[in-house]
């Protein structure tokens, strides 16, 4: 019997399954990781870390009904582990504070977005980043997931392990705060 060979063959098929399952979500994970870390390289590291942890759990991944929010939930917990929980230690870390990546606003990608989307206004967005930095973490998490990346209130509640009412009230308070940062004008 070719038991050993079967195991190795099976391993190759598992890699294909792993890739097919996760490939459509990697860039979404990266985007969300970037929203939290405000750093492209940190976002890539965070996603790489998660993917490596998932590579031994292909069969379990196949049983997940809604992979996208599930992955974002894992990403969020890992982000909290790696970044926010460092604050409880005796040493100060550079990631203690959410520092907006304002350079991204003037990047070629941002300029391209501005051309496509006439509502994109760099100065307002720069002000909004400052406003986001002033929010408490709970409110900022909700805004980044719901308003920036477009997750539904139900998905946000699941990802952050909150009830939907809490998500909505945080969103309401956060938006009231952020409106103060917009330049004068209605549109």
């Amino acid at each position: 019997m070719s038991g050993i060979v079967d195991f190795f063959r099976r391993g190759k098929r598992q890699q294909d399954v792993f890739t097919e399952l996760l490939r459509p979500h990697v860039e979404l994970m990266y985007r969300m990781a970037y929203r939290w870390t405000q750093s492209s390289s940190d976002a890539e590291d965070l996603v790489q870390d998660i993917l490596t942890r998932l590579a031994t759990r292909v069969d379990e991944l196949q049983r997940v009904d809604m992979l996208r929010p599930w992955l974002i939930k894992i990403l969020y917990n890992r982000y909290v582990d790696l970044y926010r929980r460092q604050r409880n230690g005796p040493v100060a870390y550079e990631h203690e504070v959410w520092t907006p990546d304002e350079d991204a606003l003037s990047s070629p990608v941002a300029r391209a977005q501005d051309q496509r989307d006439p509502l994109g206004q760099m100065e307002d967005q720069r002000a909004l980043l400052k406003g986001l930095a002033q929010l408490d973490e709970g409110q900022r998490d909700v805004v980044l997931l719901h308003d920036v990346e477009g997750y539904t209130a139900l998905e946000v509640a699941d990802i952050l392990e909150l009830n939907v009412g809490t998500v909505k009230s945080r969103l309401h308070r956060a938006r009231a705060h952020l409106k103060k940062f917009l330049m004068a004008g209605t549109f």
């Binding site: 038991g3 050993i4 790489q48 490596t52 031994t56 759990r57 991944l61 997940v64 509502l119």
Partner: protein
């Protein structure tokens, strides 16, 4: 213009300059605080939705997936030093099961005594490759490998199978066997690996202890990391 018309106009417009030039809308907003709030909120959410994010580095997704898979696999090192444990990926468990000569004069004592049972840790419901290293002093062309699992363990891909046996040739030196173990619940499991060649037989037990999951995540379908 009434509130319904104003909100409809705000919802469907994509050009703020055109909205600002809409005198009827501007007049309505001047008098209606509710619609003014609505317009401000719409402006805010559109700006947030359009916040740019730089793309990942070129080829990141494919590269990250390939690296993740490689990092999670057992190394296939072919060391002549069977007791070497270094250089293994941190995310891969390795259980070294050492067999000395199991034919001819019978088993010899290993150079470094192993405990009667090797222990690895896995999260409840986790599937993880456990690399078992078989070391033989001579080639065994017709060895029989038998894997026996207790009720708390399964081999991924072999559901409802508690015993798996096959004949294979073992080379002199190190032979590696990747067992995709699945810890079925949160209780300790045990697997027995038996090698038989001719009239000689050796077996080794491997215990899988449940450990706390390290990401603190549970999905709706009881998936844990």
């Amino acid at each position: 213009m009434n509130c319904v018309d104003a909100k409809s106009r705000l919802d469907t417009a994509s050009d703020p300059q055109a909205l600002a030039a809409d005198q009827a809308l501007v007049a309505h907003l001047r008098d209606c605080a509710n619609c003014r709030d609505y317009a401000e909120e719409l402006r805010l959410t559109r700006l947030l939705r359009a916040l740019p994010a730089p793309p990942p580095s070129e080829g990141f997704a494919d590269r990250a997936l390939a690296q993740a898979w490689d990092a999670a696999q057992p190394r296939t090192e072919r060391s002549s030093a069977p007791y070497a444990w270094g250089g293994l990926a941190a995310s891969v468990l390795l259980a070294a099961v050492l067999f000395t000569q199991i034919g001819g004069d019978g088993p010899l004592a290993p150079e470094a005594p192993l405990p009667d049972i090797q222990v690895v840790q896995m999260a409840p419901n986790e599937v993880r490759p456990v690399n078992v290293r078989l070391v033989s002093k001579e080639a065994l062309p017709e060895a029989t490998i038998t894997i026996r699992l207790d009720r708390n363990l399964a081999l991924d891909g072999y559901p409802d199978t508690d015993t798996l046996s096959w004949q294979t040739a073992l080379a002199a030196g190190t032979n590696e066997l990747a067992l995709p173990l699945h810890l079925l619940g949160d209780e300790r499991g045990e697997v027995t690996i038996e090698i038989q060649s001719g009239s000689s037989r050796r077996h080794m037990k491997l215990a899988v202890e449940p450990r706390e999951n390290n990401l603190g995540i549970e999905s709706g379908s009881s998936i844990a990391l």
